[in-house]
């Protein structure tokens, strides 16, 4: 299992135990993390599971691929550290990952 911390815009945070192989979005939904909507169910087709990856983790998580980058056009307040959480696969390497939930998912 890998620990992932979700930080809300108001500063509160929740830790979840995520299964390697699942996506960060799925781990958030399983644990009822507010602010991760995932309207399309993980098809990389809606940009409502947008998160900001903590700067310490950006290299390990990596950059979005072209399709995800296209879909990020539909997100609000996109930053350098923006990712769609349905496109981040949990691995043992990501144990301790910190992501921030944006103010709004549209």
């Amino acid at each position: 299992m890998a620990k992932i911390t979700f930080i809300q815009p108001d500063g509160t945070s929740q830790d979840v135990e995520a299964k390697p192989g699942a996506t960060v979005m799925e781990s958030a939904k399983l644990n009822n993390i507010p602010g991760i909507e995932a309207e399309c169910g993980g098809a990389c087709a809606c940009a409502t599971c947008h998160v900001y990856v903590d700067s310490a983790w950006r290299d390990k998580v990596g950059k979005p691929e072209a399709m995800e980058e296209d879909m990020l056009d539909f997100a609000f307040d996109v930053r350098e550290e923006s990712r769609l959480s349905c496109q981040i696969k949990v691995t043992d390497e990501l144990d301790g990952l910190i992501v921030r939930v944006p103010e709004k998912q549209f």
């Binding site: 309207e39 399309c40 098809a43 087709a45 809606c46 940009a47 409502t48 980058e69 296209d70 990020l72 056009d73 539909f74 609000f76 307040d77 996109v78 103010e103 709004k104 549209f106």
Partner: protein
């Protein structure tokens, strides 16, 4: 998730349609309902807000494989839509696309009257709501106070180009709709600025090339960044704040067209007195009828104990719903249960005999 469909014109009203069943939603469940109803000699008209059939299958994931359709180990969203269209073709369903049902009322004779935002009216014996997650509507950028500008300075589609003549226009987005409107509105706008978060565009390469040409001629301004705030009074926008990589800028404009794709909203269904529970229509599991006699709900939009939002469940719901609808459409006829494999009557309807 492009919005280039805003270009296509709405179907012209052609007088009131009288039919057995109006199906609201042309997704997989709505399409398969045409089949199940058709086998029972029940004629359907299908309405959808999108300019094409297939619902989420063709709008959200046309290229994505689906693995849990019985008998089709792998099929894409578009592939399934195409197969369903082929399957229901013998029943000659009539489609009314690019429009949304606004009102639904019961007539004195027990039938229903519906009208769409394109001015099309229907009178029908039965209504089948197969509206999935709701109707696809343009996303509203979460800018503070944007509601106040909608319809006066902020528009999500272009109905009449003339309304934009002489305006100082901001177009926001990087897909086909954004680029298409840059190219179409530039000749009549007073000024036109395209705003996109990155200097890379999803739109068709040809449109991007044309846009770049206009930028190099000084006819269109291209700004890389994101809008953070609208400024103005009484619904009249005068400028917008742009956040760039290296600071802020104020863009003067009195009109904004944001293109951030589509999202699903329940829409007018909420006003039809169907006792919605968490935006879903409660139904029984025998007939899939709502609390209103003659109004059925199938697919993702309904709820009942044990409900699974699966396409295959919606197909089952369509079959059972059709049995009940037969009672309403042909109250004096006895319904004989038949198999397509052996019934010459059904095979004749399917055109295979």
């Amino acid at each position: 998730m492009t919005m280039s469909e805003t270009h296509s014109s709405q179907a012209a009203p052609t007088g009131t349609v009288e039919t057995d069943v109006v199906i609201i939603g042309a997704g997989p469940c709505g399409l398969f309902a045409v089949f199940e109803l058709g086998l029972l000699d029940i004629k359907s008209h299908v309405i959808d807000i999108l300019p094409k059939v297939g619902g989420q299958c063709s709008e959200l994931y046309p290229e994505k494989p689906i693995y849990d359709i019985p008998g089709l180990p792998i099929v894409t969203g578009q592939g399934l839509t195409d197969r369903l269209m082929e399957q229901i073709q013998p029943f000659e369903p009539e489609f009314h696309l690019n429009q949304q049902v606004n009102t639904l009322t019961r007539l004195d004779d027990g039938r229903f009257s519906l009208s769409t935002d394109a001015g099309q009216d229907f009178i029908t014996k039965v209504v089948v709501v197969a509206a999935g997650g709701g109707s696809f509507t343009p996303k509203r950028p979460p800018l503070p106070g944007i509601e106040d500008y909608e319809g006066t300075s902020v528009f999500y589609s272009v109905r009449k180009m003339e309304d934009f003549r002489g305006k100082d226009i901001l177009i926001v987005g990087g897909g086909d709709s954004a680029l298409d409107w840059v190219l179409s509105l530039q000749p009549i706008a007073n000024s036109l600025t395209l705003v996109h978060r990155r200097d890379d565009f999803r739109a068709a390469p040809h449109s991007v090339e044309q846009m770049r040409q206009l930028v190099s001629e000084g006819k269109v301004e291209l700004k890389i960044g994101q809008i953070t705030q609208l400024n103005g009074d009484n619904g009249q926008m005068v400028s917008a704040n742009l956040k760039k990589k290296d600071g802020e800028e104020v863009l003067e404009a009195n009109t904004m067209l944001p293109f951030f794709g589509l999202t699903m909203k329940l829409g007018p269904i909420a006003d039809w007195g169907l006792n919605l529970h968490e935006n879903l229509i409660p139904v029984d599991t025998e007939k899939f009828e709502s609390s209103e006699k003659g109004i059925f709900a199938i697919g993702d939009i309904n709820s009942y104990p044990g409900k699974l939002k699966l396409i295959l469940s919606g197909f089952h719901e369509a079959a059972l719903m059709s049995q009940r609808v037969h009672h309403y459409v042909y109250p004096d006829k006895k319904l004989l249960f038949q198999y397509t494999t052996s019934s010459s009557n059904l095979q004749k309807k399917l055109g295979v005999r």
